[in-house]
Symmetry: D2
Subunit: 150 residues, 4 copies
Amino acid sequence: MDGARKPGVMSAAEVMQLLEREFSQAFHAGSGTTIEDAWHGGCRIRRAYSERMLRPGGTISGPAMMALTDFAMYVAILASIGPVPLAVTTNLNINFLRKPAPRDLIAETRLMKLGKRLAVGEVSIFSDGIDEMVAHATSTYSIPPREADS
Amino acid sequence: MDGARKPGVMSAAEVMQLLEREFSQAFHAGSGTTIEDAWHGGCRIRRAYSERMLRPGGTISGPAMMALTDFAMYVAILASIGPVPLAVTTNLNINFLRKPAPRDLIAETRLMKLGKRLAVGEVSIFSDGIDEMVAHATSTYSIPPREADS
Amino acid sequence: MDGARKPGVMSAAEVMQLLEREFSQAFHAGSGTTIEDAWHGGCRIRRAYSERMLRPGGTISGPAMMALTDFAMYVAILASIGPVPLAVTTNLNINFLRKPAPRDLIAETRLMKLGKRLAVGEVSIFSDGIDEMVAHATSTYSIPPREADS
Amino acid sequence: MDGARKPGVMSAAEVMQLLEREFSQAFHAGSGTTIEDAWHGGCRIRRAYSERMLRPGGTISGPAMMALTDFAMYVAILASIGPVPLAVTTNLNINFLRKPAPRDLIAETRLMKLGKRLAVGEVSIFSDGIDEMVAHATSTYSIPPREADS
């Protein structure tokens, strides 16, 4: 899954439409989250900066970054294998590395395994325009058996 | 930290007042989150059920449980060592075990280490009134040096 | 899986015989590892103290505790569901909490989920006779489909 | 810590000499582990294939890969900041992705944070000559205060 990017089975725009239809409460045009790009095995997500994400001391809350991680994993899976509405997170491990700047967050997902039953990936989170990573996560999704398989 | 519960240096009510003062945006009387009990080395938190936490298929969202975990760790640390506003999460690892029921979530924290620099704990999340755990997390907080130490 | 202990489908002695037969290189009478007890959903393992496990400063090596964790998970799964030689670890997360004493290590496993495809458990490691935990791990095993299932 | 590699404060050969001196039991010329390269923020380690690492079914044991991960993190830290004999692992999280081939294992470490108190890195493990990763880990080391600091 390294090297040149292969197109996914769904484009960023197609994943966005699917999510707006299926998860309209959580994900809509005004939610501040944009799928900038998506390909086979990965994606890049932008989360607009908002004062609501702040904690005292001016830091962006950990839960905001965990929610972004979980979303970025799901988008990479959808782009890679198409609609699997019942895929569920089974594990998420995150290390918070640095205090994020008061800027947009950028999350980049790279799937390291895309098996029939499990997808495992890593998500690197940056403050927009700054090189040093602010958080790094790995996560596993369980993929339900396709109807054709059963 | 096992065995009979020792009172913390702050009670559940005192922690709640501190959080309402310091984190008024995230934590207030109408937020649906209640500190049911807090003691030296642990606490029990209730997160009221709300349709906003739902995902398609009727499951409660992973990010809602991750946010609850992070909060439950912080409350246990405050109860155990008093106000440390700048304590920050460095690691959180969560396993999602079962689909939660459409009920309140109950989070129980047990600190396994309470050192000068690091606090490590586990958080067990249940659907209210149901024995089987829905999620289990471990997390590490970094505790800043006290002024008296430097 | 909480509460009173239910017998497993294999006893500690039966698991030990299976492992000596299947994993004779790694696990034999002189290996220093003993299954003290095993039940449905858990087990207790003893790892005899040996100077070979030491690191400079007199601490027991992390890898020795990680190997013990992995073994303790596998024993609990075997006791709970019987021989599944091809069960494999998919994730292991360990927090090292305190410097172990120069004593035997005791590992206690508690399975938190025992599904058809995944088993998730926690392993608590102690120095024999000392109350405070030296390490705590959570781990997931993938369980292959039974022949009867396919 | 991305981009072109900067030399570390210790070279691969210097780290190897230090480890042979300090950890002579675990690490010596015949141990099968070689530091192929080390730089500021990372290293590459080779673990020679040996039948002793095998499990039934021909797979390389998880504990062998966990030990390699822990070692690869420590080498990257030594190369980056020089001798810190009392640095200790506080957390290690590993995902096993594919069955390794019966070949040497190659571990590549990349430190994502190198703070005064904590170092956080990721270790990618490959079968020699094969592109797809067999395991991926993240780990945190606690770095003791330098004498000059106290």
